[in-house]
């Protein structure tokens, strides 16, 4: 496992903590692998720490190089929303695509979305439990963005993914995100511990980095109900296109449902700048959901909401979340 030195430096753009010194473990020589997807991963020389890292760097190019994956994306015409900017779903898709591609470069990917040999033997798949995104500027159509992705530890039975989305020309951070993943048995649909054999397959790729997005204030999202909600949207049904290869609704699609119950005036005059989602339970083709939204606070023209997605008939909670909105420029 790669551990980082103790001193860190603040990225000059956002309050992102970057490791300044890296003590590498036991990995081999310098190597650049070009993944088919267009991303690349650089494994830095592990014999000596990189002395250049003492200077304050605007980009993360040599500091988190070990096991940080980069991939460029061009915003396509069908990935922008009605406001002519990339939708939040597009950003989430890029984050998850880069994570899967990063995993593939480890050479341990055997199928599905990031399943290794030991996982396949045990019928295990990865599922998301939480997702946090902060966006400072949404890219527009045709803009080229660069996503950086890396994996870090989150307890014994979870893995954290961390992402930065940058303007590929200026390297300015447009968005940062982190998420938690755990394993689930695809036959029983029950969450599972990470078996030791599986963990050994990928633990050497963890980067022990500081959290990208502070956890404070996002800890407790209350569970809404029909009386405490300010806005409700009912009758939400998954379409075929919402299901992924794991045959459940892809976690990106939930965001659309969450936003369905956000009032139109907010969507017109505000922009989503922060989102925190906790996935509780999967849902499939035959589910019918409603989406609840409640105002949680407002200051300086910024607004915050709590959200709940729930199965309409049995009241089973699918997801809860919190969003922050700032006025559009």
């Amino acid at each position: 496992m790669v551990t980082l030195g103790t001193s860190s430096t603040l990225c000059s753009f956002i309050g992102v903590m970057l490791p300044q010194q890296i003590n590498f473990g036991y990995r081999g020589k310098q190597e650049v692998k070009h993944a088919r997807c267009g991303g690349f991963q650089i494994k830095a020389n592990v014999k000596t720490p990189n002395k250049d890292d003492n200077s304050l760097r605007v980009t993360t190019s040599s500091t988190l190089d070990d096991f940080v994956f980069r991939q460029n994306f061009t915003i396509k015409s069908y990935e922008v929303g009605a406001n002519e900017k990339a939708s939040i779903e597009t950003l989430m898709n890029y984050f998850q695509d880069s994570a899967i591609n990063h995993f593939k470069t480890f050479g341990i990917h055997r199928g599905g979305f990031g399943s290794t040999e030991e996982m396949i033997k045990r019928n295990l798949i990865w599922v998301f439990t939480r997702m946090r995104i902060e966006t400072y500027r949404y890219p527009v159509c045709d803009e080229v963005v660069q996503v950086e992705a890396w994996m870090s530890v989150a307890g014994k039975n979870a893995v954290r993914w961390n992402w930065l989305l940058r303007d590929s020309k200026t390297y300015q951070v447009l968005s940062k995100a982190s998420s938690g993943c755990v394993m689930m048995n695809k036959l029983t649909r029950k969450l599972s511990k990470i078996p030791e054999e599986a963990r050994r397959e990928f633990e050497s790729y963890f980067v022990n980095s500081s959290l990208m997005i502070p956890e404070d204030g996002i800890k407790n999202i209350p569970k809404l109900n029909v009386t405490t909600a300010d806005y409700i949207c009912t009758g939400l049904k998954p379409r075929w296109n919402d299901l992924d290869i794991n045959l459940h609704v892809s976690n990106v699609k939930y965001i659309g449902w969450v936003l369905e119950s956000v009032p139109e005036s907010i969507l017109t005059n505000h922009e989503l700048c922060g989102m925190s989602l906790e996935y509780k339970r999967e849902c499939g083709r035959d589910s019918k959901l409603h989406s609840l939204t409640a105002i949680c606070g407002a200051n300086n023209n910024n607004v915050e909401f709590y959200h709940l997605l729930q199965l309409e008939d049995r009241g089973v909670e699918i997801l809860r979340g919190r969003t922050k909105w700032r006025p559009k420029l």
């Binding site: 997807c37 396509k76 922008v80 929303g81 009605a82 695509d97 379409r239 296109n241």
Partner: protein, 372 residues
């Protein structure tokens, strides 16, 4: 008839007034002629530059605008062919674009067709003001609307496959333009799909189809091949056949489908690709499990807005009987190149008493190859 996007004319005039037209940016370079493009175009093909114009810093505007154009162009893996009459672009199928079959969904393919049509228009220096309308069309208040779309897929690309799409357009009849596509697996050069779409000129105000004089059409057709070139030349192809309206209530249905925010374009109209998803919603589960969509043909009749609620109806075509496992007889089956396809008729209509028709469609399905 489906109208795509909004008053491009205003936006283009705005650009011209700002003195930005004629600058060496990636758009608005040549306004001599245009090509029709497929499906929906977001306004900001032009407006990614407009955002910089509002900066009011002339020097920065030109440089950044031009750079944005070239970087995207360099990374865009597409270009006009040598004769300039068609456009090719490569796309990689991403993890979030595959569906339950682990292959790209037909919606993904439709999105890629939209994207390549848009990029074609942009590469001929044509201002994709939402529609690829020529200056004369703008003066006459005319816009393009999709009338019919037909997509055939022989082999769905898998995650990480690279697909090369070639597209071109040509005139059709007195009022129409068609845009054709050929999809190939870039690794094997094998044709994996073909598509064709038909567009008509409509008066933006009256919402009626309008015939135009030949020189107006010439403006549009200058970048199109003169010799007819059809992606799907077969005369008995589904892309040419009339689609009858199926009898309400249909053998299968999925009722009260609602547009989501992500389905809407800037004018709060539902985009073309969403209709494909809605048409497939009422397909019976046993066909989805055992078959693969071979082709889909949609006739667009009426546009759908944010607050509309839609019913999706499906019936087996012909005698209404599904194929038996080994049987290949029956009027619900079409034969093409020695293979049998199960056909269905579809109807999307508003979920009101009047039940106005949004569009009608036909799909053909082939049995999935058995997987090991």
């Amino acid at each position: 008839m489906l109208k795509a996007s909004c008053n491009g004319s205003d936006r283009v005039q705005f650009m011209a007034q700002c003195g930005f037209a004629g600058q060496p940016a990636s758009v608005l370079v040549r306004r001599r002629s245009v090509s029709a493009v497929g499906f929906r175009y977001p306004m900001n093909r032009v407006l990614s530059v407009r955002a910089i114009v509002s900066d009011r810093d002339g020097a920065v505007v030109n440089r950044v605008g031009a750079e944005a154009g070239t970087l995207a162009d360099r990374l865009r893996l597409g270009s006009l062919t040598e004769d300039g009459l068609s456009y090719k672009e490569k796309f990689i199928v991403r993890s979030y674009e595959v569906g339950i079959n682990k292959t790209a969904t037909v919606e993904t393919i439709a999105n890629l067709l939209q994207e390549v049509g848009c990029n074609h228009a942009q590469s001929v220096g044509y201002s994709t003001d939402g529609f690829a309308t020529t200056p004369t069309m703008r003066k006459l208040g005319l816009i393009w609307v999709t009338a019919r779309m037909h997509i055939e897929v022989y082999k769905y690309p898998a995650w990480s496959d690279v697909v090369e799409i070639e597209t071109w357009c040509q005139g059709e009849g007195r009022v129409g333009i068609r845009r054709d596509f050929i999809l190939k697996d870039y690794a094997t050069d094998q044709v994996i799909g073909r598509a064709t779409s038909k567009w008509l000129m409509m008066n933006q105000e009256t919402r009626r189809l309008q015939k135009v004089s030949d020189d107006v059409r010439e403006e549009v057709l200058i970048y199109c091949p003169r010799e007819p070139r059809l992606a799907i030349p077969e005369e008995n192809s589904n892309c040419l056949k009339k689609i009858p309206k199926l009898e309400d209530p249909g053998q299968y249905s999925r009722l009260r489908l609602m547009p989501r925010r992500a389905d809407l374009d800037m004018n709060q109209h539902v985009n073309n690709v969403t209709y494909i998803g809605w048409v497939l919603e009422s397909m019976p589960q046993e066909i989805i499990d055992s078959h693969e969509l071979h082709s889909i043909t949609l006739d667009y009749r009426r546009e759908c807005q944010r607050d509309d609620i839609v019913d999706s109806l499906t019936s087996i075509e012909g005698d209404g009987v599904l194929l038996e496992v080994n049987g290949t007889n029956g009027s619900s089956v079409a034969w093409e190149h020695g293979q049998a396809y199960q056909q269905f008729l579809h109807l999307l209509k508003l979920s009101t008493d009047e039940g106005l028709e949004i569009n009608r469609g036909r799909t053909a399905w082939r049995k999935k190859a058995s997987r090991l």
